[in-house]
Subunit: 150 residues, 2 copies
Amino acid sequence: MNHEEVILRRIVGYNLKRANSAVLATLQQVLGPLGLRRVTFSALAVIRSHPGLRQSDLAEILAIDRPNMVLIVHELEAAGFITRTRSQEDRRAYELRATPKGECVSEQSVDAVFDFDRGITEGIGEEERIMLIGLLNRIEANATAMGGEK
Amino acid sequence: MNHEEVILRRIVGYNLKRANSAVLATLQQVLGPLGLRRVTFSALAVIRSHPGLRQSDLAEILAIDRPNMVLIVHELEAAGFITRTRSQEDRRAYELRATPKGECVSEQSVDAVFDFDRGITEGIGEEERIMLIGLLNRIEANATAMGGEK
DNA sequence: TATTGTTATACTCTATAACTATA
DNA sequence: TATAGTTATAGAGTATAACAATA
């Protein structure tokens, strides 16, 4: 049953979706044992490298709606990976920081995800890999520009 | 706030996810007016080019679990885009075929999606585009091989 | 026994409106 | 008035177990 290749497989967006789904399913097997899912992994990594970052800034960086970010930071806080402290300058805002435990788990998980990323790009050279990231960013920018101008 | 680029943006899987999310959001704006969503578009396109295809074969082609495929084909049938007839050879199975209306909508939507796909790959040459699809397929295969061997 | 389609279910992800407290 | 965080909610997408009809 290879005829479908002639149709959908010519569409970049379809291959993008198939690749993303396959990657996500396997990535969850890597992050699960560390007590993380894809989105909490990403959030923790950004918080770790931006101590004191605000929730709304984190949401913007990760392109996640603020209401959904609430659950994510609460999950990270409940796991003991981050602290949320009121900002002195703006008492509406929370400053996010990784705890020592969170630092440790973030470092471990970033290492694991980089290993994983090398696994899924097995057989792809370093130059191609750089170019691939460039192409994906181009697509993201094009799609965002074509879509709703929020 | 560009420091996150140094971390997550080096991960192919993260850029893949960002590109896929941006593409999906904009694609829905294209397919919605045609009465389709991404997965019903894909299913209809495959059914159209494989008249008499079975539901379970369609599910396997699209990598969708059978229980979820039930809703998809019912949606396409309710919209008048496909028919489901009992197979004479195997009376457990349904044969799927596009109706004239379904053929028309499928042709329109495939054209629209190809246009859309050219839009999101604007600035990417034809050679690069072919290579990109090859890289995405490689990643999908690698991730699938690394994941659960179902 | 195995397979096709089905039901029920549940969990994740995402998106919107409306609220509160602060600014 | 506007913004940060929150609540509630609803719609997709996805995954598993168990069933009836048929093979």
